[in-house]
Structure formats: C-alpha cells, structure tokens
C-alpha cells in the first residue's frame, strides 16, 4: 500500500506543478487579452527540451540539478496529501529543512556554470529566501505552538474537527502574514527577482539547455506545489471541507475526495496569486527585503505574541 503511495504522490505533485504553470500562462494571457497557449504547454515544452542535446559544465552542474529535483520530490512526499502523509518522521522541522535542498541544489549547479548572471540570480534567490523566511518562520512557530505539536499531519487532523486555523483568531494574523509572502514563496511577479528574464537573463537558468531546462521547470513547478500545499495544509485545513465527507473517513473514496478537495483549494489560492502577479511590476531586491521585513513580519509577530499570551 505504501509503495503505491510513494509512487502516486510525487506523480500527482509533478502533474499539479505542470498544471499550475500551464494555468499560470493561460490566465496571464487571458488577463492580457490574448488566447495564450493550451494548458498542457509546459508538458509540450518539457518533451521538446528532453529531446535536445545540450552542454554540460562539469559534474556538479548535473548533480546539483538532480539533487534539487530529488529534494523537491522528497518534500512532496513529506507533505500531507489529503489525509495521507507518506512519511511523517520529524514533522514540520524536517519539511522546513528538506525545503532547503531544492534551492541549494539549483544554487550549486548554476554556480558551477561559471556565468555571473547565474551567480547574481542565486545571491538574489538566497536574499529573497532570507527575506521571506523571517515572517514564514514566525508563522510556522505560531502554528506549532498553538497546536503544541511539530507534526504537520497532526495539525491537519486537529483542523478537521476544530475548524480551519484561518478562522481561529490568533492564527488569522499568521494566515494573513503567510498570504502576504505567498508570491515570494511561489516566485511570481512582484518577487520574480531571482529568475528575472530581462535583467539577469533568467538568473540561475542562464546556462541550462535541453534536459537541464526540463528539470529546472519541473523543480519550479514542484516548488509552487510545495508552497501552496504548505499554506493550504496549515491554514485551510487541507483535504477536508467542513467535515462534509466525514462518513467516508478512511475509505479509498474518502482519501481520493480529500486529495481532490486539497487540490481545488490550492488552485483557488493559486488563482489569487496569478491575479497579484498580473497586477505588479517586479520589485528590486532592496524593495522586496524592505517590504518582507515590515508588513508580513508585523502580522506574523503580532500572531505569535497573541498566541504566546493566550496559549
């Protein structure tokens, strides 16, 4: 049974990642009054990229990229999908540290490419990560202290009967803080600083050719899936719709429904993200840091203080 889950969950995550990117381009096109490519365009791109013979700059150039995609898939395995969590050991702390593997892998491999555009891209990516980690850590700590557990699956189970944490008062502040930094986590327009195509010729991806570019797009899709799934699991009770499907609790149908509900919630949050992306120009890295360290951190800090007081 667990073997099926181990194979199924990453596939769902990858497919959802591609769907997000396809949807992203379609919605952006629609907002800009044009037809835009079909939703399956990222898949077509990846098939084309896999068939291209390109250039490698050395061992780390390949190993880093493989590490980053593997790291993102492993994180997808550790996140609860509906009410199935394939691996639970170590809880949210392990998920937080595993989320480092993706960016670090990309950083190592594009650093090896010897192109200053990539180095500038990576230094911006890490600065942006430092920027949004301040409020994100406060938010995660607030949730963990509020539910007094470090296990993500536990948090989802508690939300099933205690109601979404986005509704309960102290976590509302943290939810707002997390939502304010969601564009930074997903890497979309206001915070598309690391992969800015015009300024630093797509940053870390500057030297990625055929299959490298395919792996990098897959990793980007997974990164968006992880950011959204974390938000939905922590704040929107991932996988349960006000207990409507309580009766099919742990049957096959129940799990399936939970997954579908989770994905729909993620799609809704992603749609809002795309609208933000369409409305904003790209920030400079100083503006991004100044923004991330003021408003979202304020909300997150208020949330954690309220939780420490009310317990």
């Amino acid at each position: 049974m667990i073997i099926v889950q181990i194979i199924l969950v990453p596939i769902i995550a990858l497919v959802m990642g591609l769907l997000f990117m396809g949807l992203f381009r379609k919605m952006m096109a629609r907002i800009q009054w044009r037809y835009g490519p079909p939703i399956t365009q990222p898949l077509i791109d990846i098939i084309r990229m896999f068939s291209q013979k390109t250039v490698t700059h050395g061992f780390m150039f390949e190993a880093g990229l493989v590490l980053s995609l593997a790291g993102s898939i492993v994180v997808a395995l550790f996140l609860p999908m509906g009410n199935i969590t394939v691996f639970e050991t170590g809880g949210l702390l392990v998920v937080l540290y595993l989320m480092l593997l993706g960016p670090l892998g990309i950083a190592l491999s594009s650093g090896e490419s010897g192109n200053p555009n990539s180095s500038i891209g990576i230094s911006r990516k890490f600065l942006l990560a430092l920027g949004y980690e301040v409020p994100m850590l406060l938010v995660l700590l607030a949730v963990m202290t509020h539910y007094n557990t470090i296990s993500l699956a536990e948090i989802v189970r508690i939300q099933a009967y205690r109601g979404w944490s986005f509704g309960s008062f102290p976590l509302l502040l943290s939810g707002i803080a997390y939502f304010l930094i969601l564009p930074a986590i997903l890497g979309i327009r206001p915070f598309e600083i690391a992969g800015a195509a015009q300024e630093i010729s797509s940053g870390p991806k500057a030297e990625y050719g055929g299959k490298f570019m395919a792996f990098s797009t897959l990793q980007h899709g997974l990164q968006e899936f992880i950011g959204l799934s974390l938000f939905v699991n922590l704040f929107l009770g991932g996988g349960d719709l006000f207990g409507l499907f309580g009766m099919y609790a742990n049957t096959f149908l129940g799990n399936l429904l939970a997954i579908v509900v989770l994905l729909i919630k993620m799609l809704l949050v992603f749609a809002v993200g795309v609208c933000i992306n369409a409305a904003f120009p790209r920030f400079r890295i100083e503006q991004a840091l100044n923004y991330l360290w003021t408003w979202p951190s304020l909300f997150a800090f208020a949330g954690i203080v309220v939780i420490m007081i009310t317990g």
């Binding site: 009054w33 835009g36 291209q52 013979k53 990625y208 055929g210």
Partner: protein, 182 residues
C-alpha cells in the same frame, strides 16, 4: 493544428514537441526586431503557437535573423547559433540576409548569410509583418514534419566549410571550432 492528435505524439514526440514549443532567442540582429514585440503581445499573440522569446540561446531552439547582418553582428550571430542546443532552426527575415538586399554593395554588411550559418526558412518582405512571422512558423512546422528543417545537421556535417567561410571573413576567429576534435 494537429497538436491534440495523441497518435502523432506517441509515434514521434520529439518532432511534435519541437513543432509546438518553439522558444525564440530574443536577440535583435537587425531592423526587423521591431516586428517581434507586436507579434508576441496581445494583438497577434505568438504564444498560442507555443512561440515564446527566452533570455539565453541555451534555452532556445528557434533563431530569428531579423534584418541586415553587419560584419560585427555576424560574429555575435555565429556565437549565439553555436550556443544553442542541438535540434535548432533559423529563419531569415527580409531580403537583406538572402542576398544583401538594399545593402548589396555595402562595404560592411554580409551578403549571403547562408554561407556562414545554415538557414532553414526565409520570409520575404522588407520587414515582414507579424502575420508573415506566423506563416513562417507554420511553414517551419511542415518542414519539421517532413524532416527537411535539417539546418543543424548540415552545420554539423559541413562544419569545416562553414568554419572556413567564417575565417575568410574575420581572419583569425576568437573561439575554438565547435565540432573540432569530436
């Protein structure tokens, strides 16, 4: 468009992939580049054909030579062409790359671009309109389908001729030959 025919995808996914995802190198070689922005924005929208400008030649498989090619730009064009991953296609815009066009007797422009890098398709017109660009893209589809868009194969097989011609123009080249010792 046979984009949704699953049978063709299963038989030859690489070919279909190349047809419906032509990423263009965003490199302004001549006066024709002014036609690219309108073709990728709202009015003509090249993205519905899967054509998107990308930042670096490494990520691209279509190279548009838009307009006359001066000797200085030829060096950059050859370098960019060699940096693109293998199945790559080039389309020449207007008459200047064909035979020098209006600058046929100029001391500084390249007359027949075909002598230096292989060109898969030409678009006539002294700066063709975006619709002509889409005609070129669809024409390229048929070429890819019939395996006739083999510019990169010609470049690999006859590389010494191309390299000799390039060296004739520039004298000594700054970078080593691409398919030197393989």
């Amino acid at each position: 468009m046979d984009r949704n025919q699953l049978v063709k995808w299963i038989k030859a996914p690489a070919k279909m992939g190349h047809k419906y995802s032509l990423h263009v190198v965003y490199f302004c070689t001549g006066c024709g580049i002014i036609e690219i922005p309108p073709s990728i924005t709202a009015r003509w929208d090249a993205e519905r054909f899967g054509v998107i400008p990308v930042a670096t030649p490494r990520q691209a498989n279509l190279f548009l030579i838009t307009g006359y090619v001066s000797t200085k730009t030829l060096k950059a064009i050859i370098r960019t062409y060699e940096q693109m991953p293998e199945p790559k296609y080039t389309v020449g815009f207007g008459s200047c790359p064909i035979n020098g066009g209006m600058y046929w007797d100029s001391y500084n422009t390249i007359k027949k671009l075909d002598k230096y890098i292989p060109i898969d398709g030409w678009i006539a017109g002294c700066m063709p309109r975006p619709e002509a660009v889409f005609v070129a893209v669809t024409h390229l589809w048929t070429l890819i389908d019939k395996e006739m868009a083999d510019g990169y194969k010609r470049y690999r097989e006859k590389y010494d001729y191309y390299r000799a011609n390039q060296e004739k123009v520039f004298g000594e080249m700054e970078w080593p030959p691409l398919y030197g010792k393989e």
